[in-house]
Structure formats: C-alpha cells, structure tokens
Amino acid sequence: MGDTSVAEATATVATTPAATTRSGWWRTAKDMLSSYPYLLIAIFFFVGWQILPIYSSFRLSFTDDNFLDQNPPNFIGLQNYREVLGDQLFWQGIQRALIFTLVFLPGMIFIPMITAIFIDRVKNERVATLYRIILLIPAMIPSPLIFVLWLWMYNNYIGPINYILVDKLNLFTLATQPQWLQDPKLIFLSIAAMEWWWGLGYHTMFFLAGLATIPKDLPDAARVDGAGEWRMFWGVTVWRLLPILLVLMVVRFGSAMAVITEYLIMGGYDRTKNTYTWTVYMYDTAFNGGVQFRGYAAAIGWVGAIIMLAVVAVMFYIFRPRD
C-alpha cells in the first residue's frame, strides 16, 4: 500500500507540488473511508463476540470469580495458574487429548487423500460427481446428531455393529463383545472412526482441489518418458498434495486437541473416562455443579490453549515452505 501511494505521489509532483506533502496520509485516510464501511459488520461480530470474550476470559483467569456468590470477583494474581500447573486432573486431561489426537490424525488425513486420488482417476464425470455427493452427506448433518447416530451404532443392545459381529459373524459372544464406548482402550478409536466418517467427504474435497491443479497431460508425458505408476505417484502427485496435507494436519491437530462436544455427549462428566480431557474439565468446572469456578476454569482454558498453540507454532515452523 505504501509503495503505490508513494509512486502516485511522486507522479503528481510535476503538476501539483502542493499536494505532495499530505498526499500519503490523505490517500490512506481516503482509502480507509471507502473500504472500511465494507468491513464494519465483520468487525462488529469479530470484536464483540471473538476478541472481547477472549479478553474477558483472560481477565477472569486472574480472579476467584464463581457463579454462585454474587460478590464481584477478586483479583488473585497468578494463583489460578499456579494451581492449574500443579493439577493432576488437568495434565491427565492434556495427555488424554494428545492420545486422541494421535489416534485421530492419520485416518483423517490419509483416508480422504486415497479417496481423492481414486476419485480423480474416475473417467466418467457423472460417476465421479455421484461419489462426491454421497461422501459429502455426513458433512451436512448437525454435529450432535453425528454423535447420536454413532451412540446407536456402538450400542450393545440395539447397535448394528455388535449385532453383525456377535449374531451374524459369531466372532464374539455377548460376554466378549467389544464395548466400543466403555472400554478405555477402544473409546478413542471409536470416536476417531466416527470423526473419519464425518470428515471423509469434506477433506476429500480439499485433496481433489489440489489434484485439479495437476495438468491432465502430465501423467501422459510421464508415461511416455517411461515413468511407472508408482514413480508418477511419488514424483508428481505427492508433491502437489503435500502442502494441503501439511495445512490439514496443523488445522486438524488444533481442532482435535479442542474437541469437547463429542466427549460430553459420548462420555459425560465421568472423570475416570478417557473422554474427560482438559476441555471437559474446563467446562465441568465452569458450568456444572453448584459453585462453578469460572476464574479457575478460564485459567484451565488458557493453559490448555497456550500448550496447543505452542505445538501448532512448532508444526508451522517445521512445515514452513523452504525455497
């Protein structure tokens, strides 16, 4: 912006010397007047219900605010943060969220990637569109209803999964059937599989957008040069998809660490369950039960967010575009 206004200012020097002194400022003010009205609505919502709540929870995290007593909260400095850092339940919650994220990430990236590569090779335009539409259906379903659906799927009494495993395939008996949402070893895998089901179509679209940038005659040229299918895949396709893969990995790392609704609906407030992560702990502290320690909950939220953002920053640094 500065460059252009300077260039235009120098261009006008010859004709109107008086305008040069104030033209930079004048130009910026004029540009702001003509462009910022377009941004007003966005700024209203962004400041009012994004920046202000973040600031407000930051301020609360230094107080003893709770919902029960009506007294104004007292400033208690860093005490909440000291307590969070020594809180066994908090660190367990971070650890649980990390384990879920590690189970979740590979399936959320690679299943859609393979699906996209295969759809991209479908020659019949209509069949390819049909695949896309069917795979996108879960992306249109409201999130709590995704979780209700899979509560049904995993249910021991009416769920079709265990019906097939026990009654049809005889792989298990009623006593040994998998307890998808009760077994601590299985629960994260069960929830992750649900997330893969949910996100398959949407993430496939991202990879398809990347594949669409590969010129159609490139595979033919590679073939003429004698490159095999695998060399073509590793030499061209992977490099085109890598940036998308890395961005999705960082974005999905962030969303997986902050998962909360899934855990609330599928695991509730049971502290012994793996679904009791730092996010559920924060919500439990802030809105559940009698006293509702909002100040302490805000501190939990901030320490969790800072840990998460630190990892995101490291990932951005590792994945930064070189050359």
């Binding site: 910026t28 540009d31 702001m32 003509s34 462009s35 910022y36 377009y38 941004l39 966005a42 919502f45 962004f46 219900w49 994004q50 202000l52 709540p53 973040i54 407000s56 929870s57 609360l60 699906t115 020659k123 695949y131 896309r132 539409i133 069917i134 795979l135 249109m140 379903i141 409201p142 999130s143 709590p144 209803l145 209700v148 659906l149 899979w150 049904w152 009494y157 009416i158 769920g159 679209m205 991202f206 957008a209 669409a212 159609k216 033919d220 960082v250 974005v251 902050a258 909360i260 609704t261 609330l264 924060m282 802030a286 909002r294 805000a298 939220g301 901030w302 969790g304 967010a305 953002l309």
Partner: protein, 310 residues
C-alpha cells in the same frame, strides 16, 4: 486430407482421448486397477450411507423390533407408515416441545446465515478488490483466530458478555456468537472466490464511473454466486448443528434448538423409544440435507472455484 496423411486415424485417436490418462492402460480387456479403485470408493460410500439408512429403517420399525438389535424388522413395518413421525411431532407432553425447538433452530440458523453471508461478501470484496489499509494485519488476525480454541477457552467470556447484555435464554441471540465464530472461515471462502474475479473487470467498471458498491452488486456478485452458496451451506450446517453454546447460554429446554435437544435426550425410554427417536432424528437432519440437495450443483462449483484455496 486423408490421402495426404494416411496415419490420421492412428494419430488423432490419442488426441481425442487426451483427457483420459494414459496410466489407465491396458485399454483392452478388463481393467483390474480401475475396478479395484471403484471397489474402494463403493466401500467408502457404503460406509457413509449405511448407518443413515439404518436410522431411516429404525424410524419405520414397530416398537417391539425397535428394542432389539436385529437389523431387518421381524414384525413388519409400523402401520400406518408415519406413526412415529406423527407421534414425536404431536406429543409435546411426552416427547418435548418439538415444534418450538424446530422454530428456534430455523430462527437462529436464518439469522446466522444472513448475517454471515452479507458480512463475508462485503469483507471479502474489500480485502481483495478495494485498497484497504491494514488488510494484511486483518488477514493475519483472521488466520490466528482460526487456530485459537475460542469456543472452549472463551466460552466463559461469551457467557459473561451475554449475561451483561441480558441475552441469556434469548434464543435469537445465539446468532451473535455463531456469526462471530464463522467470521474467519466465511471471509476466507469469499476471499478465495473474489480472487478469481479479474482485476481488469473491476478497474474498467471504475473507469465507467460505477462506484464500488454498484460494481459489487451489478458486476462482481453474479460471478461469485457459487461461492456464496458455499458460505450459506457452511453456515447453515454450523448454526443448525451447534451444541455447546446453545446448551450453555439457554437455560430452558424450550429455548434451545432441536439438535441440542436430541443430543442431550436420553433415548430408549418414555416418549422417546428408539423408533420414535429415529423419526425425530430424520426430522432434524432433513432441512440441511434438502438444502444440500437443492444447492449441490453450485456448491460443488463454488468449492472448485477457489473456496478451498486457503
């Protein structure tokens, strides 16, 4: 032509098929590789679709069948066919205020979709096609906000702001945090689509004397309508399905939205025996699916045109 170039059929054939990848050899005989790819895709599609068909089936089962896990009903389908749908819609005392909840969902979703669409079209246009001082800082702020877990860390703050404004338990007010949470994603979608509109077009409109608002409405808007459909659908699905804020900011059951009611309902007992709950489930997912079915063509185009660029 044919006499001068006897090899025409041989050379023109590959040219005609140039859109077909040469990797899909062999062209003669059965293509096992392509069949394998289709098999994989069909399995993926079945994985996606079968659970939903199971719910549809459940909503037409008798109450006896609905209490067991066999997939195909052993006592036939319920008669009349829509019994469970009729029951959940017209039994407010046993099931819950379904019509009120449905209306709440429609209200909040409409307000959010309208606000987010208008907001993102104007902002995306300003960021791409107007000289906006500080546009880099604004963009960076939006990117940063996408990574900050606002919905978790700041929910305490959202609650205290809504309480100070007296908006707790006011259903419409959910559109305020909903729109705020979609500012970044909606603007990025529109930004990606606006970038596909050539700058020359806008400059020539300017030379013709059109002001920026008229340029947007008359020339640019028709070109980005597929992107607008993407924004509408993204916000529709997000607002229709938001759970945590609606649960936290609305105290009374009849102020909440339909998906929140279903998400926290304990099914299998009382008014919500499983087949009835399934009927309610179908009612709750139908609006978004119809929206998608109607707008699917523009949605797909919009995604390709650049909504997925960032």
């Amino acid at each position: 032509m044919s006499t001068m170039q006897p090899a025409v059929p041989a050379t023109s054939a590959p040219a005609a098929y140039s859109s077909v990848s040469a990797l899909d050899e062999p062209r003669r005989g059965f293509n096992w590789k392509a069949a394998g790819r289709h098999l994989f895709l069909v399995i993926m599609c079945l994985w996606v679709i079968l659970p939903l068909l199971w719910v549809v089936l459940l909503s037409f089962k008798t109450l006896q069948d609905g209490a067991h896990n066999w997939i195909w009903p052993r006592n036939g389908f319920i008669h009349p066919f829509l019994t469970h749908y009729d029951y959940v819609l017209n039994n407010p005392r046993k099931v819950g205020p379904i019509w009120t909840l449905f209306k709440n969902s429609v209200l909040v979703t409409m307000l959010t979709v309208v606000a987010a669409t208008v907001m993102s079209v104007l902002a995306g246009y300003a960021l791409v096609h107007l000289r906006t001082p500080g546009s880099r800082i604004l963009t960076a702020l939006l990117v940063a906000s996408m990574f900050f877990p606002t919905q978790v860390t700041a929910i305490v703050g959202i609650f205290s702001i809504q309480r100070r404004l007296g908006l707790i338990n006011q259903t419409w007010s959910l559109m305020l945090p909903y729109t705020a949470l979609s500012v970044a994603i909606s603007i990025f979608i529109m930004r990606g689509v606006f970038q596909t509109v050539p700058k020359d077009l806008i400059d020539s409109a300017k030379i013709d004397g059109a002001n920026s608002l008229r340029t947007l409405g008359g020339i640019v808007l028709p070109l980005v309508r597929n992107g607008i459909v993407v924004v509408i659908i993204v916000n529709f699905v997000a607002a229709w399905g938001e759970y945590l804020l609606a649960l936290t900011l609305m105290n009374d059951l009849d102020k909440r939205t339909l998906p929140v009611f279903l998400g926290s309902a304990s099914g299998g007992v009382g008014g919500l025996l499983w087949p009835r709950m399934a009927a309610l489930y179908i009612i709750a997912i139908i609006p978004a699916l119809i929206t998608f079915a109607v707008a699917q063509r523009w949605y797909m185009k919009g995604l390709q045109e650049g909504a997925l660029k960032t």
